[in-house]
Symmetry: C2
DNA sequence: GTATTTTTGCAATAGTGTTGCAAGTTTAAA
DNA sequence: TTTAAACTTGCAACACTATTGCAAAAATAC
């Protein structure tokens, strides 16, 4: 599984990439750099984690989630991942209780009518509230 | 104008608050902390700018805009500001060309149907593309 | 005008992210 | 299977972003 994804994206198979990709595959929600650093412990250098995450974003294996605090959240979305690249037009949900961020793969970002003069390219939507686990 | 807003929110009137609030009033788009520091130059300490922005957010004079890089963007939205507090349910637009962020006060964030178990509280939407100035 | 409350500036600290380079690992090809 | 080329990693250094405590200064209230 992990190997397939790396090879499909023409990436060298290294311990760091395998481990970090596994974290995303076995983790429901989104992850921040700090989460990954905690979970991998002393295994890799901070810089390696940063570079691995950037590589994955460039290849479209994971994608960024917009937030209002100054944190960068990354998530792998199962459906798109298989296809090798992301459409990433789904809504993200951040739980006010457990703070977990979830990709709602089945909820598509709705179209909005913009004022005259504005041309849309991409739209992101983040909903906060109470998630299924915390209800 | 500036004084009205500060008094309405029960804030002491200081040089820093007046100057920063003016920046928002005379600036179309959103501002990051770094923008404000550049525009105020040596007038105030960085810490004062941080604290002023936090105070304004708490009082609802300005609000945060979600981004995918790790930057915090602040914007004052004319309509709500007059009322003393924000509804902040409008769409934000980030121009791919000039990178300016605009509040589309007249475009409301649409409702979406969430999966069973999820209860929404607040929704944010950010659209990227080409703005009116850059078209 | 003075006392009280609030805000500011400074110094120190912590967190976040990037770059250059040498050493190490992976890949591909003989 | 060995070797050479390409790529990735770790380290050190650096830059930027943000927060806290405390004393001095300013604003408000009386």
């Amino acid at each position: 599984m992990v190997l397939d994804i790396l090879k499909k994206n023409q990436l060298s198979v290294t311990e760091g990439r395998k481990k970090i990709l596994e974290l995303f595959l076995h983790n429901e929600g989104a992850l921040a750099h700090a989460d990954i650093e905690k979970k991998t412990g002393e295994m890799f250098d901070r810089v390696t984690v940063y570079r691995t995450l950037n590589t994955f974003v460039e290849k479209g294996i994971i994608h960024l989630i917009p937030t209002t605090d100054n944190s960068i959240l990354y998530a792998l979305c199962k459906d798109n991942c298989e296809a090798g690249h992301h459409h990433d037009n789904h809504v993200h949900f951040i739980c006010d209780v457990c703070n977990k961020t979830t990709c709602l793969d089945e909820v598509t970002v709705p179209e909005v009518k913009l004022p005259i003069g504005f041309t849309p390219n991409h739209a992101e939507m983040v909903v906060t509230g109470v998630c299924d686990d915390c209800k």
